[in-house]
Subunit: 343 residues, 2 copies
């Protein structure tokens, strides 16, 4: 390797690369009997807790492009999408396994910055990387993360518990990530300041782990999901699993000023992004009216905005009430149905 050329992962070799990444991940952690360096990680679950397990992958060319982001942001995002799933159960993130496949010519610096992004995102949410796998790929990087978490048996919030009369609430704002994706792809031309705010929401989503925990420990939420595919699609999952319907008031949807301004300037409909756009990673949850006040207080108390956007019904169908009182069916459960019934 000459001084001028870029050091690749193939130059370093698998075991030295594992040793390098291990140094970036290692930190004293509760519940870790053995971390990286044996056949499996060996962990000590807390007595009486349920174990949560989820996996999600980022695939180059599908979920990210190297030209429009950084290795650290890819790592952070790979963690965030999994943290968001544990948040949606009301759980605490604990342990992370990372399976990374990369072409041999991948720069060593790319792998190290990716690892740093993952380690930092994990640490910020109380999780620790305890193991993983490195593989060669012929083309394209795949970052596959498995996250383990814990929750008290009585506090887990599933998708199945929404009942007619329950209110529907959502954290944060909706549609920012979808608008940000359009800015990244060049199909939405807005002033730089607004554009960069939207792109940041797309590239570095904040998993609502603390808010999810606040909801679970407060008690009273009947169903919860994270918004990865968009409000129409993800609410559809709750309705399907809970065998219920919902009426959502379009005028109540929390839409950021960035999205509103971008829509106005570009002649677009902010509601499109807010209802059909994915990757906001906010939490959508339901609760009976009597519990809404204390749940909202608990979420606000941890610094996260929360908005009541509608109500669960017995109609086995989702309806969006537009500002002009038009009622648009959300269709069965999939955004595809929603799209087909669109104005």
């Amino acid at each position: 390797v000459s001084g001028a050329s870029t050091l690749t992962i193939a130059d370093v070799g698998e075991f030295p690369l594992i040793a390098r990444l291990k140094r970036r991940f290692e930190q004293p952690g509760s519940g870790i009997v053995r971390g990286i360096g044996d056949d499996t990680a060996v962990l000590r679950p807390r007595p009486g807790r349920l174990l949560l397990a989820t996996t999600d992958a980022l695939v180059e060319g599908v979920h990210f492009r190297r030209e429009t982001t950084t290795p650290a942001l890819i790592g952070r995002r790979a963690l965030a999408v999994n943290l968001s799933d544990v948040a949606a159960m009301g759980g605490e993130p604990r342990w992370v396994l990372v399976s990374l496949s990369m072409p041999r010519e991948t720069p060593l610096s790319f792998a190290e910055e990716l690892a740093d992004g993952m380690a930092k995102a994990a640490e910020e949410h109380g999780a620790i990387i305890v193991g993983g796998n490195l593989a060669t790929a012929l083309a394209g990087i795949t970052v596959d993360v498995t996250l383990l978490g814990e929750v008290e048996p009585g506090r887990a919030v599933y998708r199945t518990g929404a009942r007619p009369g329950d209110r529907v609430l959502v954290t944060g704002t909706l549609g920012d990530a979808a608008a940000g994706l359009e800015v990244m792809f060049g199909t939405l031309d807005v002033p730089a300041e607004i554009g960069s705010a939207l792109v940041a929401r797309q590239r570095a989503p904040t998993p609502r782990v603390v808010a999810g925990r606040a909801i679970a420990t407060t008690g009273g939420a009947t169903a919860m999901i994270d918004l990865s595919d968009g409000l129409a699609s993800d609410l559809g999952h709750i309705l399907e699993e809970s065998r219920a319907g919902a009426t959502i008031e379009a005028s109540r949807l929390p839409i950021s000023s960035s999205v509103r301004v971008a829509a106005r300037l570009a002649g677009r409909d902010a509601l499109d992004w807010a209802t059909r756009g994915g990757e906001d990673y906010e939490l959508l949850f339901t609760a009976p009216p009597a519990a809404v006040g204390r749940l909202a207080d608990a979420v606000v108390a941890v610094g996260v905005a929360v908005t009541e956007i509608g109500e669960i019904t017995s109609e086995r169908d989702g309806v969006l009430v537009l500002p002009d009182a038009t009622r648009v069916r959300l269709g069965g459960t999939l955004w595809r149905h929603f799209a087909a019934n669109e104005r």
Copy 2:
């Protein structure tokens, strides 16, 4: 989609595909509070057990080619390499997460047969698929499996406990998978009967879960690892983690008659395959002389052959004693060192 064309995963769509695979995976399982269909799987660990967690990926073009295997065998193998890691800790496999990324044009039948292969391999070893992720890939299939297992705190066998004077033992036979790979790649020409036996060992390795459990519950083993990268490399990991050395007798290595005959017919050295060849997924373990008898009995009692092949030393180096009494250094810890010192 016309009747004549092949139905692809893109034709079916993500959520219907998940529903189809879910039906293939679902079965009543102990410790599953929620399986596929919520934000995370929710599991109930057995009180007092340690949790084992491992992940391993099969990448198309690197770990398998569609032309030389079947979807069911790919699925089986993806499970086997992870089951082998839990076996090497002396643990019981329990829950599986599958992260699958596939090009849109992947035939639906491929995904379904892959799922069936995984589900069957999991079931055979007492594990259940409880969750996963489906993603689109631009090119090539990646099958990423995370396996969770359990082990009693006092029974886990790590890589760190080998002590001078301990004997080194190995299950099954060595080198079959490496020779099988050469048959598949056409670099080893042997009679069909021998060739197919070797290829079977390569394509469908048997994870030594029952033998690993027998070793752990018998007690007395000081270190254990599964042979994925080959004897020289994997013994190297034990020596490094245990800060010890080893003397291995080449004449004692368990080599199948298929490998012996193939080597003789092709003018090759069976010892090369047995020491440097990977993917046999046998277990290598160490134990003080007083425990060797009862450990060997326990392994044989579950129908698996076991052979004593050498001894742990205090020399911080691995040595292979050839049939002519020549001593070949295993080098530091990596097979690369071994390769550099080869005859």
